[in-house]
């Protein structure tokens, strides 16, 4: 036995000693790469890293087959996992990614959910019409539909003059920035919520769309009854063409996930949910960008511009811009 032990045919100890320095080097490179930007690594380092990664990976295979040192195998597994995710990780810079998002990913994602967008719009319209009919027949419905905080001084008891004042009054001019920011964050949060609820097979999202439309319908009914329909249109649409569009898209993103979970088609349910989730998430980031615009239009544009026709013109221009941006096909635009 002693004699056999003397002739080391292969020893895991020497195997380890030969490679330890490489592993330490790989660990050091990874530590620097993960700690900050890749720019901290020199060109040589970046060339060396995949080589070290592959040698660590082969060392892991050898160690699994020849060594019984569990700590060593666990160490190599951890090291290789980290290196793998670095070597095969995302390489594009933030700037490139943002560029690609605006020129390609966002419009493509919005196009891919066009069916759900139409459904969301129909649901909102249904809510609007239903609430309009209810409130114009019986104004007491107004308080049942609209939360009192949102209505403020606008209510069934208000006079036409008071209502007119709410459309043009700029008593909030002092706090415009705060107002715009509040509206933006609030709407964005509601949209994210509508999106996330899509997971429950889209049902709560659909309800949210109908309810959103109902709030709108109740307001329209109230103002139309007081002969202020045209004026309300300008007040609403200057930001609403962007905001309602964004909310419809958020609802569509949620519905997209919900319907793909119910009807996965040829894919497995998990795979379908994943694909839908990614498309919807891309659309959602766009929704938040749109709501930022809407918040600015609502906070500043609406308070500073009080001419009805100008309001309508801005609303139409915004709507046309969004539609062109999303739906006009462009050159070299393959749907992957």
């Amino acid at each position: 036995m002693e004699r056999v032990a003397g002739q080391a045919i292969f020893s895991s100890t020497t195997f380890r000693e030969e490679r330890e320095a490489d592993w330490a080097r790989l660990e050091e490179l990874l530590r620097r790469a993960e700690g900050g930007s890749v720019r901290r690594l020199s060109d040589e380092d970046l060339l060396e890293l995949p080589v070290l990664y592959r040698s660590a990976l082969s060392a892991l295979s050898v160690a699994r087959a020849t060594s019984l040192d569990m700590a060593l195998i666990a160490y190599l597994e951890g090291l290789c996992t980290r290196a793998y995710f670095f070597v095969y990780g995302v390489r594009t810079s933030f700037g490139q990614r943002a560029m690609h998002f605006f020129t390609n990913d966002w419009p493509a994602a919005v196009r891919r959910i066009w069916r759900e967008t139409l459904i969301a719009i129909v649901l909102m319209l249904a809510g609007t019409i239903a609430a309009y009919l209810l409130v114009s027949n019986d104004p007491s419905w107004f308080n049942a539909i609209i939360p009192s905080g949102l209505a403020a001084e606008r209510g069934p008891d208000a006079t036409a003059e008071a209502l007119r004042a709410t459309l043009y009054d700029d008593n909030e001019r002092n706090g415009l920035g705060v107002f715009a920011t509040y509206l933006f964050t609030h709407n964005a949060q509601v949209s994210i919520f509508a999106f996330a609820l899509g997971f429950a097979f889209g049902v709560p999202t659909a309800l949210l769309m109908v309810y959103n439309g109902a709030i709108l319908g109740a307001f329209v009914a109230l103002f139309v009854d007081n002969g202020l329909g045209f004026e309300l249109g300008g007040w609403l649409l200057i930001h609403g063409s962007t905001e309602l569009f964004a909310i419809a898209l958020a609802g569509a993103a949620g519905l997209h996930i919900g319907t793909k979970i119910i009807f996965p088609g040829m894919e497995s349910r998990l795979a379908a949910a994943r694909r839908a989730g990614r498309t919807a998430a891309t659309a959602m980031i766009g929704v938040i960008v749109m709501l930022l615009f809407a918040g600015l239009l609502e906070g500043f544009g609406r308070q500073l511009i009080t001419d009805d026709w100008t309001r309508y013109a801005i609303a139409a221009a915004m709507f046309a811009t969004w539609c062109a941006y999303f739906y006009v096909p462009r050159l070299g635009d393959g749907e992957h």
Partner: protein, 299 residues
């Protein structure tokens, strides 16, 4: 020998991830406890950051009040609203899009987010999984707070409904959150490890004092070897004494004066691992002490 191989613990939480080079990385899924712990750390951090941020913004606001202009106050309010919004929605996203694919809490626990297909973790996946937190965390929280203007029973039903999303990871094998399903991600436990010292090498002279016979080394297999490795790495004197006594009894080792338990165990470990590893090279594995190599699979 039936069932699992103790030398290769392919547990219920292990998943294969085969790299393009053809090596299985054997990712370990994070347990529900680890994930809850990581989330708790993040949540506490969020609250601490929010408190510090609010104090900073409010004190800046008080400063502008002194100067008597409202414009300053307005900017302060805008900063707070935007800061709160960004923190709530983008704290997780910003960290997980980064190179480590983990929030501070996940880093502390040794977790990271990976794409289930082993490909790159994309920004849209990270965004999808984190926007879903809205129904997993904030929805139950809002029902817990009593809901907005709904009465007790409705709030309770809502809470139960929201709880389905909160406890979703406990109901599936892969511990997937709702966000993970939608994003196609996994959370794996991949802590940074230090390379531990080699227990089998480096004590050549000391090993000379212990000469084990083949019979003595044949008493144990790989499973016992790894148990012994854990005992040695833990370095608890009492356990070592117990284990040393057991092994001495099993192999019929004569205890000599002044023989240290740890030295004995180290020497036995080195000798046993050398022997088992050599047998492995010849395709002859011995899983544990009951493995006689006679069932044909190891021949």
């Amino acid at each position: 020998m039936a069932s699992i191989n103790p030398a290769l613990p392919y547990g219920a939480t292990e998943r294969t991830l085969i790299t393009p080079e053809g090596v299985d990385l054997r990712l370990k899924l994070a347990t529900a406890g680890q994930r809850a712990g990581a989330f708790l750390i993040d949540f506490i951090l969020l609250i601490v950051i929010l408190t510090a941020f609010t104090i900073a913004v409010v004190s800046a606001g008080l400063g502008t009040v002194g100067s008597g202009s409202l414009a300053g106050l307005e900017i302060v309010a805008v900063i707070w609203l935007l800061g709160f919004f960004l923190l709530r929605n983008f704290y997780f996203i910003a960290f997980e899009i980064g190179r480590r694919s983990a929030t501070l809490g996940k880093r502390a626990v040794g977790l990271r987010v990976v794409a289930r297909d082993g490909g790159r973790l994309t920004a849209d996946a990270v965004i999808a999984r984190n926007l879903m937190r809205e129904i997993e965390v904030f929805l139950p929280l809002s029902f817990l707070a009593g809901g907005e203007g709904v009465d007790g029973w409705i709030a309770l039903i809502g809470l139960a409904w929201a709880g389905i999303f909160l406890f979703f990871p406990l109901f599936n094998r892969d511990r997937l959150r709702v966000g993970d399903i939608v994003a196609g991600t996994w959370v794996v436990h991949a802590p940074r490890r230090k390379l531990e010292i080699d227990l089998a090498g480096g004590n050549g002279e000391a090993a000379g004092a212990f000469a084990f016979t083949e019979d003595q080394l044949d008493a144990y297999g790989e499973y016992e070897l790894q148990t012994l490795e854990n005992v040695l790495r833990a370095g608890n004197a009492e356990t070592e004494a117990n284990v040393a006594a057991t092994i001495r009894g099993k192999i019929g080792w004569e205890w000599r004066e002044e023989e240290e338990d740890r030295a004995f165990l180290s020497a036995y470990y080195a000798a046993l691992s050398t022997r088992l590893e050599r047998r492995m090279l010849f395709g002859n594995r011995r899983r544990d002490k009951f493995d006689t190599g006679e069932d044909g699979s190891n021949a």
